[in-house]
């Protein structure tokens, strides 16, 4: 019996959410007296994999791109072989495609976007109504599939000494193939950012974004925007955070010139700390904020940049 984790180990550096999922798995395994097996794919070096906090790593090296059908066959087969009672994913772009497929294939109940470990009754919490409420979910099946919402639990990384096995089964041909990958920009990708600096209509025009970007750079933050700003073409669509754009949950969200419509709040209400800068003291966003400044963006931003530079120089 084991706790099975599926995670992406491709790329130069193992993503933070892989460590989060492994931490989650370790806690469940400790409680149930079982072991952790990591199922992964791609070309990660064996010594990099064995250093992860798992008892065993099974890697399908024949898979390069993430075709959800191939990954589902792989995870379902490994889950069977390892008699996994828990199959854990990160609720990221790969996990969102594969976890529900695995659950449907195995007829296992799924908690999509879990934010907590199981409580004493075995219930797991997740966000519903776009973060405006939470639900406690009971999984009724013996095999449970959980995808963990990124940035929900702190990483407790132990040094591992996992045995690494190469998977050699036949997973069929990929139907979805990657033709090209374009790097979207130099900045930090929004879904992975721990700090996000975001601008709204109060920025008054795309030509005024320079100071906002400079502040983001000083804070090692990603940039984002509100829906009107993306719709008017001031900023690219992939920067739109909100109920109909991207939902984020960074440690810090700084909203500049955004009034805080309920649809916008739904995309950012998982942020741990929210700072709001708006020239309108009545802006609804102040009610959802931890820190607030009533002031014009173009006058406040230089002061923030100066303070951030000073802080960076001191540390």
């Amino acid at each position: 019996m084991s706790v099975l984790v599926f995670a992406d180990t491709r790329g130069a550096k193992v993503p933070k959410n892989t460590f989060e999922t492994l931490t989650y798995a370790r806690k469940i395994a400790a409680k149930e007296g079982s072991t952790v097996t990591l199922a992964t794919f791609g070309d990660a070096a064996t010594d990099k994999l064995s250093a992860l906090d798992a008892n065993k790593v099974i890697i399908a090296r024949s898979l390069g791109d993430a075709d959800s059908q191939q990954l589902t066959r792989f995870v379902a087969e490994v889950a069977g072989k390892e008699s996994a009672k828990w199959i854990l994913f990160s609720h990221d772009d790969t996990g969102k495609a594969v976890a529900p497929r695995v659950a449907a294939r195995l007829k296992a109940g799924e908690v999509a976007g879990a934010t907590t470990l199981p409580n004493e009754q075995g219930l797991i919490k997740r966000n519903v109504f776009s973060g405006k409420a939470q639900a406690w979910v009971e999984v009724k099946t013996p095999v449970k599939v959980v995808s963990l919402l990124p940035n929900s639990i702190p990483v407790e990384a132990a040094q591992g000494s996992a045995t690494v096995e190469e998977y050699s089964g036949d997973l069929g041909a990929a139907k979805v193939t990657v033709k090209a990958t374009h790097h979207a920009g130099e900045g930090i990708p929004l879904p992975e950012a721990e700090i996000v600096v975001s601008g709204g209509r109060g920025m008054k025009g795309p030509e005024n974004w320079g100071p906002l970007e400079e502040l983001a750079k000083e804070l090692h933050a990603a940039t984002a925007c509100s829906r009107p700003v993306a719709d008017m073409g001031w900023r690219p669509h992939h920067e739109h955070v909100g109920q109909t754009g991207v939902a984020i949950r960074p440690n810090l969200y700084i909203a500049i010139g955004i009034s805080g419509a309920i649809q916008h709040l739904a995309g950012v209400n998982g942020s741990k700390v929210i700072a709001v800068i708006n020239s309108d003291a009545e802006a609804p966003f102040f009610k959802a904020a931890d820190y607030g400044i009533v002031g014009d963006a173009q006058q406040v931003l230089p002061k923030l940049i100066e303070a951030a530079k000073k802080l960076n120089a001191e540390r």
Binding site: P15, D67, Q69, D93, K96, P100, R101, A103, A104, K107, A108, G109, E110, G113, N127, V128, F129, S130, G131, K132, A133, Q134, A135, W136, V137, E138, K140, T141, K175, V176, T177, V178, K179, T181, H183, G187, E192, I195, L219, H238, Q243, T244, A247, L252, I262, Q263, A266, N269, A275, F286, K287, D290, Y291, G292, V294, G295, V300, L304, A307, L311
Partner: protein, 246 residues
């Protein structure tokens, strides 16, 4: 091209969120319901654009009781050709997927489009589960979608990059921001929607794999700490020393 679009009936984006029956049931009293924005703005409109350019049909499918029919008519008013309602109260995302797959399995749809998630359950489960139950490939979180010569080409935002992927039809695609622009139904569309076919089919038996046992609202936010604009730099200091987030 035969296109199926999954349409979910959800509380309006501005609806008050409250629960009844000891926090076990969503309180829909006085709540306006809408077409799930991801289903409407991105999946449905892109489906219509593809049909308009290449010919074919756009059918919508909704799993739910008769109360969902005004929402279904809205999708018809925007331009879908016909609609299906599976008459049952789904217990979880898997149940919805089972109902959709049971209807779609022998209908020969080339393309099944879903919004990337619903704004009430936010599970992102139904699209990939339908794909699995129909043994179809799946492209998640597509921001662009085109079809030519029996092959779909899509763009996805992944890990800060834009990935261009290809897949032969038939397949399931989950649709995100960027794929299409919202369409407001015109009077002709609204009139036509009244007489477009809305077929009601019975649900199929489905074992309940998970349940939301109870709901809770987030704890109220503490009062905001205001900083004078003249002393704005203080914010950075507080974020460092007090909130400890930078």
């Amino acid at each position: 091209m035969k296109i199926l679009v999954l349409i979910s009936h959800v509380p309006d984006t501005t609806a008050r969120i409250a629960f009844t029956n000891d926090n076990t049931t969503y309180d829909a009293t006085g709540v306006q319901f809408i077409v799930n924005p991801y289903d409407e703005w991105y999946a449905l409109v892109r489906g219509l654009e593809l049909k308009e350019a290449q010919g074919g049909t756009v059918t919508t499918i909704t799993v739910g009781g008769a109360v969902t029919e005004p929402t279904i008519r809205k999708a018809l008013a925007i331009g879908a050709d016909d609609a299906v309602r599976v008459d049952c109260e789904p217990k979880d995302g898997h149940d919805v997927a089972v109902q959709v797959a049971a209807f779609a399995k022998d209908k020969g749809f080339d393309l099944v489009l879903a919004g990337k998630e619903t704004i009430d359950h936010n599970g992102s489960q139904v699209g990939p589960m339908v794909a699995e139950l129909l043994d179809l490939p799946f492209i998640s979180l597509a921001t662009k979608l085109d079809v030519a010569n029996g092959t779909a080409t899509a763009e996805r935002d992944v890990r800060g990059d834009v990935e261009v992927v290809e897949c032969p039809l038939p397949l399931v695609v989950s649709c995100a921001k960027g794929m299409a622009e919202q369409r407001i139904p015109n009077m002709r569309g609204i009139m036509a929607a009244r007489t477009k076919p809305l077929q009601v089919v019975s649900g199929t038996a489905c074992e309940t794999l998970s349940t939301s046992v109870k709901f809770e609202l987030p704890p109220p936010k503490q009062a905001v700490k205001m900083i004078p604009a003249d002393d704005a730099g203080k914010l950075i200091e507080l974020l460092h020393t007090e909130a400890k987030v930078i």
